[in-house]
C-alpha cells in the first residue's frame, strides 16, 4: 500500500461530553474510495467531524499527507484539501444555488472543478442557478451540496449520509454519478446506512460499532454474516 493520504491513529473523540470514538485506526490511500458503515450512534458522524476539523482533537490523532491536522480548525483543514458533504445537505438558505457553489470554491485550490464543470455534471443546477437553494427538491439540494464540496477541488472528499431522506430513484442517480465525481485521483470516504450501496462504490470498508472499528476489509469479498455481526454486535 502506498503512503496513506489520511491516517487516523488512536483517535479518541468526543461528542459533547460523551466519548463517541475509541482508539480508531484508519487509513485512506490516494485515489481510494472507502466506505464507513455502522448503526446509528456508532460514531460515524463524529468520525467525519474529527477529520474535517469541526471537532478538534489532539494533533497527532489525524495525519494528512504526513501533517498532523487533528487540532486544526475546520477552515484550516478545508484549505488543506479536505471537503465534507454534510449530513442533511446544510445549504446556505440566504445564498442562491450559484452562490452556494461559488462559496465552496472560494478557498481557491486549483483543480478540474469549476462552476462550468459542476453545471456539466448537474445540468439542472445551471437552470436553477439564480433560485434560493431552499426552493430546490431534496435531490437537487444534494447535488448543490456535492457540487459545493467539489468546487474546493479537494484531494479527499467526505460524504456523510448522502442518501438520507431522498427518494430511492434519486439515490440511484446520485450513486450512478459518484464514480464520475470521485475519478480524477480524488479519494473519498463515504458514510452510508445502506450497506449494499456503500460496498458497491467502495474498494474497502470500515464498520464502526459503539465507537470502535469492529471490522474492516475489502468491499468486494466481505461475507454478509461478518458484516451483520460487526454491525449489530450479535454473535
Amino acid at each position: 500500500m502506498p503512503d496513506p493520504l489520511l491516517k487516523l491513529e488512536d483517535l479518541d473523540a468526543f461528542y459533547g461530553d460523551f466519548q463517541a470514538l475509541y482508539q480508531v485506526e484508519l487509513e485512506v490511500a490516494p485515489g481510494e474510495v472507502l466506505a464507513i458503515i455502522g448503526a446509528n450512534g456508532a460514531g460515524k458522524t463524529t468520525l467525519m467531524r474529527s477529520i474535517s476539523g469541526l471537532t478538534q482533537n489532539q494533533a497527532q490523532m489525524v495525519r494528512y499527507r504526513g501533517d498532523t491536522i487533528g487540532a486544526l480548525r475546520a477552515d484550516e483543514v478545508a484549505g488543506k484539501g479536505i471537503a465534507l458533504v454534510p449530513e442533511g445537505r446544510q445549504l446556505f438558505p440566504s445564498l442562491s444555488v450559484q452562490e452556494n457553489l461559488i462559496i465552496g470554491g472560494q478557498i481557491g485550490r486549483k483543480g478540474p472543478w469549476s462552476l462550468k464543470a459542476v453545471y456539466e455534471l448537474f445540468p439542472i443546477l445551471q437552470e436553477r442557478r439564480h433560485q434560493q437553494s431552499t426552493s430546490l427538491s431534496g435531490g437537487q439540494q444534494q447535488m448543490v451540496a456535492i457540487g459545493r464540496a467539489l468546487m474546493a477541488n479537494p484531494d479527499l472528499i467526505l460524504f456523510d449520509e448522502i442518501s438520507l431522506g431522498l427518494a430511492p430513484i434519486i439515490i440511484k442517480d446520485i450513486y450512478a454519478a459518484l464514480p464520475g465525481i470521485i475519478g480524477e485521483g480524488m479519494s473519498a470516504l463515504i458514510v452510508e446506512q445502506d450497506i449494499t450501496k456503500a460496498l458497491s462504490v467502495s474498494q474497502r470498508f470500515y464498520c464502526l460499532q459503539e465507537g470502535r472499528v469492529s471490522l474492516e476489509g475489502s468491499s468486494a469479498t466481505v461475507a454478509r454474516e461478518d458484516i451483520s455481526r460487526a454491525y449489530f454486535g450479535v454473535e
Binding site: 480548525r73 477552515d75 478545508a78 446544510q90 446556505f92 438558505p93
Partner: protein
C-alpha cells in the same frame, strides 16, 4: 403647510436614525449579537470627530476620513479581542459584556472630555438652507439623509454583490458549514464589526454636527437605533431606513402637537407597530 414641514423634517431626521441603526442591524444580522454599547460607540465617534477637528483643524466632514478607518480598526480589534469570546449558544454573555463596554466607554469619555456638552463646528453647513416651494429645508438634514441612503445602498451592495457579503450571509446562516468552506468565522465577525463601526463613525459625526452631545447620551441613541431596526424588520437594511423615517416623522409630528411629546410620540409609534406587526414591517429573518 406647517404639517407638511413637520413631515419633511421628520423624514430627514429619519436619515440620522437610520445611520444609528444600520450598524446595529448589520451586527445582529451577521452574528446575532445585540450590541448594548452601540449608542456609546456612536458618541465615541462624535468625540473622535471633535478631537480631529480641534487638533488638526479639519472641517467635521473631512474628519470622516480619519474617524471612519479609526473606528473600523477599533471594531476589528474589539471583535477579535473580546466579543468573539462571548459568542455561543447562550445569548446572555454578549449582552453583559457589551453593557459593560457601554459603561467603560461612557466613563472614559467623561474622564477625557468632561461632562460638558460639546459640539462640532461645521461653519456654514449648519445653517445653510434652501427654500422649496414655501418650505425652508436645511442643507445638513438633506445631506444626512443622502448619506444614509448612500450608506444603506453600499451595505446592500456589499451584502448581495461581493464575496465579503456572501461570506457574511453564509456565516450568518450556518457558522459550522461556513467554516468548512474555509471561512474563519472569527475573522468574518471582525470584518463585520469593522464595517459596522465605520458606519457608526459616520453616524457619530453627523450627530455631532447636528446637535450638542455629552458622554451620557449614548443610551438614547441606542434606543432610537433599536426602534428603527425593529420597526423596519430585522435583517432588512432598506426596512431600517423606513423604520428610521417612521420614527423621525412620529417624533416631529408629536413635537408639533406639543413640544413635550417628541420622544413619547416616537416610542408610542414603536409600541403600536410592535403590537400590530411584531416582526416589523419588512422582516427578512424569520426566526
Amino acid at each position: 403647510m406647517e404639517w407638511v414641514n413637520a413631515l419633511l423634517q421628520g423624514t430627514l431626521l429619519g436619515g440620522l436614525y437610520a445611520l444609528f441603526a444600520a450598524g446595529l442591524s448589520l451586527i445582529f444580522g451577521v452574528m446575532r449579537l445585540v450590541n448594548i454599547a452601540h449608542g456609546d460607540l456612536i458618541v465615541l465617534g462624535a468625540y473622535l470627530g471633535l478631537s480631529v477637528t480641534t487638533v488638526l483643524g479639519f472641517h467635521p466632514m473631512l474628519a470622516l476620513i480619519v474617524v471612519v478607518p479609526a473606528m473600523a480598526i477599533f471594531g476589528y480589534v474589539l471583535q477579535r479581542g473580546i466579543l468573539n469570546q462571548t459568542l455561543g449558544k447562550d445569548i446572555l454573555p454578549p449582552l453583559l459584556v457589551t453593557f459593560g463596554l457601554s459603561v467603560i466607554i461612557q466613563n472614559a469619555l467623561l474622564e477625557t472630555y468632561s461632562a460638558d456638552p460639546q459640539k462640532m463646528n461645521a461653519g456654514a453647513l449648519e445653517t445653510a438652507s434652501v427654500s422649496l416651494g414655501g418650505l425652508s429645508v436645511g442643507v445638513l438634514p438633506v445631506l444626512t439623509f443622502a448619506i444614509a441612503i448612500a450608506v444603506i445602498a453600499t451595505l446592500q451592495w456589499i451584502f448581495y454583490r461581493t464575496a465579503l457579503g456572501r461570506a457574511f450571509r453564509a456565516t450568518s446562516d450556518n457558522q459550522e458549514i461556513a467554516q468548512l468552506m474555509g471561512l474563519n468565522r472569527r475573522h468574518i465577525f471582525g470584518l463585520a464589526m469593522a464595517l459596522a463601526l465605520a458606519v457608526t463613525a459616520i453616524a457619530g459625526i453627523m450627530l455631532g454636527i447636528r446637535t450638542s452631545f455629552d458622554p451620557s447620551i449614548g443610551g438614547g441613541r441606542l434606543i432610537f437605533g433599536f426602534e428603527a431596526v425593529i420597526i423596519g424588520g430585522l435583517g432588512n437594511l432598506w426596512g431600517t431606513l423606513v423604520g428610521g423615517v417612521i420614527l423621525g416623522v412620529a417624533q416631529t409630528i408629536g413635537a408639533k402637537i406639543d413640544p413635550g411629546w417628541q420622544l413619547l410620540a416616537g416610542h408610542l409609534t414603536f409600541l403600536v407597530i410592535l403590537a400590530v406587526k411584531p416582526n416589523g414591517l419588512f422582516p427578512r429573518i424569520s426566526e
